[in-house]
């Protein structure tokens, strides 16, 4: 018998109601699947077992992520100090504005690099994330202030 609603007869209405369109595209987990996973996890808990220790890979990854956060903070501070000692000799308005903009983005470069690596390598191997972090440190060293401090 055909249904008047026109929906697919095989379609589970509950499934449909508990899903956001586009969840799978964005890599998200829809609530229904999440609940099922949670139920399975609850069911399989062995009360007698100790809590599983965090895997060493995860620990190293977290340590690297936090450690590089501190380094990148230092980079940003270094650039804030650097732009105090660099200056443009240009007098026309456009050059002044462009120079100021350049100094501003140099200050936020460290923060941008860090957040971008964090955002774009959620599933990458730890080595890849650390590699991008290290490359950013090397490229973004605040040379203006470092050279002044070294001299």
């Amino acid at each position: 018998m055909a249904r008047a609603s026109g929906s697919h007869p095989d379609h589970d209405d509950d499934d449909e109601a508990l899903r956001w369109a586009g969840d799978d595209v964005r890599g998200g987990v829809d609530p229904l699947t999440r609940n099922r996973v949670a139920e399975v996890a609850t069911a399989s808990i062995d009360d007698g077992a100790d809590a599983a220790p965090a895997s060493p890979g995860n620990l190293a990854r977290t340590a690297a992520t936090v450690g590089f956060a501190v380094l990148y903070l230092a980079i940003v501070v270094g650039w804030i100090l650097s732009v105090q000692i660099t200056g443009s000799t240009a007098t026309d308005l456009f050059s002044q504005v462009a120079w100021q903009f350049g100094e501003f983005v140099a200050i936020i470069a460290g923060a941008l690099w860090y957040l971008t690596v964090l955002t774009l390598t959620p599933d990458s191997r730890t080595a890849i994330r650390v590699g991008w972090f290290a490359l950013g440190i090397a490229v973004l060293l605040p040379w203006p202030i470092l050279l002044v401090l070294a001299s």
Partner: protein, 101 residues
């Protein structure tokens, strides 16, 4: 479509550090020569100043290929910030290694 708009807008923003690099490349050697230190022109810094914006723009496009618009924009922004930081670094290195006039 919006992809192309992002490419063009960032292309214009990358043009400024590139312009700075090119004008340094053109203006610095004659300035050094006029002051009798023509042999000390820091060519590698001048080349970095011109190459960095171009290479970072191309690298940002390449790394961003196949990603969604937000990620592409973020990567281009990181490249732009890096280009500007590198130009400032190159300028500070140039004054650090400049012989006394």
């Amino acid at each position: 479509m919006s992809k192309v708009v992002v490419w063009i807008v960032f292309g214009l923003l990358y043009a400024y550090p590139l312009f700075e690099g090119i004008s340094n490349l053109i203006a610095l050697p004659p300035y050094y020569a006029a002051n009798g230190i023509g042999a000390a022109v820091p060519w590698w810094l001048l080349v970095i100043g011109v190459a960095a914006p171009v290479l970072l723009y191309l690298a940002a496009l390449w790394i961003g290929r196949g990603r969604e618009l937000f990620a592409r924009t973020l990567i281009l922004a990181v490249g732009l910030a890096t280009a500007n930081a590198l130009v400032l670094s190159a300028v500070s290195w140039a004054s650090a290694v400049q012989p006394a006039l």
